[in-house]
């Protein structure tokens, strides 16, 4: 529906990520803020890759609960910066990514299961993303 496309677009714009969901070999167009694209050496076997930047700052999170829809088998790369001690919890994937002030953390997640999962911060609790893998 338009709404889905709209929210996906919104996610793309606001999150500052670029997505390629074709099965063909693909690379990520890095948003301006990002120095390099991680998929420059794409080979035909390499799965699609999506980069999303997460910022925890001033007791808020960015993105703020947006939905991202990604294909099963693709890779989600989270780039997290924080101004506080916290953890980013990827529900359903049993992943807790600790973050510390100042440092940026990068984490690859292979989207090997289908469903809707929340990515949230814990102190305080915020839903950062609704990850829809289909």
């Amino acid at each position: 529906m338009r709404k889905t496309i709209g929210s996906l677009l919104a996610a793309l714009l606001l999150v500052g990520c670029a997505t390629t969901q074709e099965a063909a070999p693909s690379s990520t167009v890095a948003p301006p803020a990002m120095a390099t694209s991680p998929a420059t050496s794409a080979t035909p076997a390499e799965p699609a890759r999506t980069v999303i930047r997460i910022t925890l700052a001033d007791g808020k999170v960015e993105p703020n609960g947006q939905r991202v829809e990604l294909a099963r088998g693709s890779v989600l790369e989270l780039v997290i910066t924080s101004d506080r001690e916290d953890a980013v919890h990827v529900h359903g994937f049993d992943l807790e990514i600790p973050v510390t002030p100042g440092a940026s953390v990068t984490k690859d997640i292979t989207l090997d299961r289908v469903g809707r999962f929340e990515i949230e911060s814990h102190e305080p609790v915020f839903t950062i993303l609704q990850l829809v893998v289909s």
């Binding site: 529906m1 889905t4 999170v61 703020n64 947006q66 919890h89 469903g115 609704q130």
Partner: protein
């Protein structure tokens, strides 16, 4: 255990995929067509006119009513109460404690298929009822310490249970830290004191009025194929069961709380809700509480508007009668929203139940089992089941509403009078589809 399904906290770390748009649209179209087909083509005179009937089964009745059957069921209920109570009061405050899955999944979700397939079996097994009955055996007056008169009982009806169901929904969806023992213990105490304590005061009839789980189970069992006909168990048409079983006062409130609660649960999963609440400076508990209340009020008000087309709402009798037609919609919503949870988290609860204290027990031999994940690999099947549950529930509901409307409408308004309620029901179902589509 497979790491895939071990959450770090809380239950339900995975939700179903949104219903695909083509399915949602097909569902909505089916709903419209079916609704008006029923209005135009279904029977023109009341078919059952409030009289239960079906194939009476004397043999089954003997088994069901046998003293030992009832004792066995009550014993199972008491045992589960004690076992899970042990986990609640002496277990570890971790997500592997089975009490969470037992309360939020086995009881809250599981009672729906149980009552749908087996009838009002929950009532017989209800441990709080058994406790009150045991107290009566021990010398408590038959109708409690403070007996109430029949007119008072009639007025009380299911209203206390409706409040209890709203409270449990609030616990499940709003209460912060509802996956910690400290919080759950308070709620458990409140439940036992209100239901069993009230049963001591007013007699066992209070349990039927006030226990939210029993009220929910009995409500769902009205759509089961098992009904008492002249005191004997009979295999019946669920439509006839729904349209001829008693709707005590307050049934409409129970239905509104359940439907509104499930709808609110779906609503909180939309990105819009999450973003709005998170960008607001108001406390989240306030948002969620208002959201739940608003959703219940929306269901209650629209239902009253729909029923208003059938006649005057004298003291709610008409509301309670017609509430039977929303029961299948409630069941459809519950299955569509929670079946995956029941299948996946239900398995985990079964595993955890073997070790209630976290001491490494394997009491039921389930501790080492894995979770069968076939379910996860068939999202299309899940979507079809959801669609079937929602549309099927709607169809049954519309047929029941039709039968009940024919009973109360004067001859001249038999078709037109049904339209408002029909429109409201279409609204509930399309709303349910929209929530599953989850924009």
């Amino acid at each position: 255990m497979n790491p895939l399904l071990v959450p770090l906290h809380g239950l339900g770390s995975r939700q179903d995929l949104p219903l695909p748009l083509p399915l949602a649209v097909t569902g909505a179209a089916l709903v419209l067509v079916l609704s008006f087909a029923v209005l135009a083509l279904a029977w023109r005179e009341p078919r059952w006119d409030g009289v239960p009937g079906g194939r009476v089964l004397p043999g089954l009745t003997r088994v069901v009513d046998a003293r030992w059957t009832r004792i066995a069921l009550a014993a199972i209920g008491l045992f589960a109460f004690a076992w899970v109570g042990m986990a609640l009061w002496a277990g570890q405050d971790r997500v592997t404690n089975p009490v969470f899955g037992f309360a939020y999944v086995w009881m809250w979700v599981g009672l729906v298929p149980l009552s749908l397939l087996l009838g009002p079996i929950w009532r017989t097994a209800n441990p709080l009822r058994t406790l009150v009955l045991l107290a009566r055996r021990a010398g408590l007056p038959r109708d409690g310490v403070l007996p109430l008169t029949p007119p008072v009982w009639r007025r009380i009806g299911r209203y206390p249970a409706a409040v209890g169901l709203a409270a449990f929904t609030w616990l499940e969806l709003v209460q912060p830290d509802n996956n910690t023992l400290a919080v759950l213990r308070w709620w458990w105490l409140a439940w036992v004191v209100v239901v069993a304590g009230g049963g001591v005061l007013f007699g066992p009839r209070w349990v039927r009025s006030a226990d939210p789980f029993e009220a929910y189970a009995v409500l769902v069992s009205r759509a089961s194929p098992w009904q008492r006909v002249d005191g004997r168990v009979a295999l019946v048409n669920p439509l006839r069961h729904l349209s001829t079983s008693r709707s005590p006062s307050g049934t409409w409130a129970v239905v509104a709380v359940l439907l509104g609660g499930t709808a609110f649960d779906g609503f909180t999963g939309t990105s819009w809700w999450v973003r709005t609440v998170q960008s607001s400076d108001l406390p989240r508990v306030l948002w969620s509480t208002s959201g739940q209340l608003a959703m219940v009020a929306l269901v209650g008000l629209t239902f009253a508007l729909g029923v208003r087309g059938l006649g005057r709402l004298r003291q709610g009798a008409l509301l309670d009668l017609l509430a039977a037609s929303v029961i299948p919609i409630v069941i459809g919503y519950a299955i569509a929203h929670y079946l995956s949870l029941l299948v996946l988290e239900g398995q985990r609860t079964m595993i955890n139940l073997s070790d209630p204290l976290g001491w490494g027990w394997n009491a039921f031999g389930t501790a080492e089992l894995g979770i069968n994940q076939l379910w996860l690999d068939a999202p299309q099947a899940t979507a079809l089941i959801q669609l079937f549950a929602i549309v099927g529930g709607h169809l049954l509901g519309v047929l029941v509403a039709h039968e009940l409307s024919l009973r109360v409408l004067p001859a001249g308004r038999r078709v037109l009078g049904q339209v408002p309620l029909l429109v409201v029901m279409v609204g509930y179902t399309c709303g349910g589809l929209l929530l599953l589509f989850s924009p």
